[in-house]
Amino acid sequence: MTVGVETRVFDLLLVEDNPGDIRLIEEALKEGNIPHRLHKVRDGAEATEFLFRTGQHADAPRPDLVLLDLNLPKKDGREVLAEIKADRRLKLIPVVVLTTSEAQSDILKAYDLNANCYITKPVDLDEMIKVVLALEGFWLGIVKLPRLE
């Protein structure tokens, strides 16, 4: 048992517009068996609403971890990332970029914007599941996350 890991329910925010990927990620996270609530938003504008608790998401919980696709409708993931990291409270929440691109320029841009981590979505289904499980195991099992109100 790793010291410092709490046994509580984690709130995860998934910012992803592809329904197939949403489904895959959701199922893979369930397989990982770490208690969590998965909140899903489908575009960058809704992501902002959720994180800043406005509009339909006025009562949204603070996520413990954000999984962020870069290419999103309405507002690009890079903009969402920049907004998160510019906010003095939200910037503490780890953001894992989970996106199709493996271009060095995108990777650099994300780390420059202070993304905590960058993961390229595998094309292969089984690999994608492994990646999500690895992500869950690391961020919810090994890492100590900040607890925000």
Partner: protein, 173 residues
């Protein structure tokens, strides 16, 4: 946990072509050692980290510095000692050290345009929320509490390695 692929037996250490590539089989083939900078003043912990990395078979160079001043000298390639220092692919950073602690090192790295894209994993004995908050506020990539138990410690280092070198993508330079 992601399976770590063993070293490719044809690997030529003298003529590495590229750091890693995804093969058709879906495995990741590592063809150039990863450089890891460990900033840690406890010799016992240093040994455990070394052991963990040696056990997995990942081609790597583990560079060890024992305080924040050495860490920054390493990263800036200062002086004769560090003039040839490679840019690390990953930094494992303790928090409480003499002569410039980890928080200061973290702040300096993340304020530096050329260094900030290097993932920094805080590796500390501290469980305190204020240390966790401070680290994430300073944009640490992740915060890991050192397990007290030796086997758990080694497994944690392996998990860090597995995640940051196999699951995640780092910016190559």
């Amino acid at each position: 946990m992601v399976n770590i692929k063993r070293l490719n037996v044809d690997y030529d250490y003298d003529n590495p072509i590229y750091r890693s590539r995804d093969t058709d089989s879906g495995d990741v083939e590592v063809t150039k050692p990863f450089d890891i900078l460990l900033v840690e003043d406890n010799p016992g912990d240093v040994r455990l980290v070394q052991e963990a990395f040696n056990e997995t078979g990942l081609p790597h160079n583990l560079h060890v510095v024992i305080n924040g001043v050495q860490a920054m000298d390493f990263l800036h390639r200062e002086g004769r000692r560090y003039s040839e220092a490679p840019r690390p692919d990953l930094i494992l950073l303790d928090l409480n050290m003499k002569e410039k602690d980890g928080r200061e090192v973290l702040a300096e790295i993340k304020a530096d345009r050329h260094l900030r894209s290097i993932p920094v994993v805080i590796l500390t004995g501290s469980l305190h929320d204020r240390d966790v908050f401070k680290a994430y506020d300073l944009q640490a990539n992740s915060y890991v509490v050192k397990p007290i138990d030796v086997d758990s410690f080694i497994n944690t280092i392996k998990a860090i390695e597995s995640y940051w070198f196999y699951t995640a993508k780092n910016f190559l330079h």
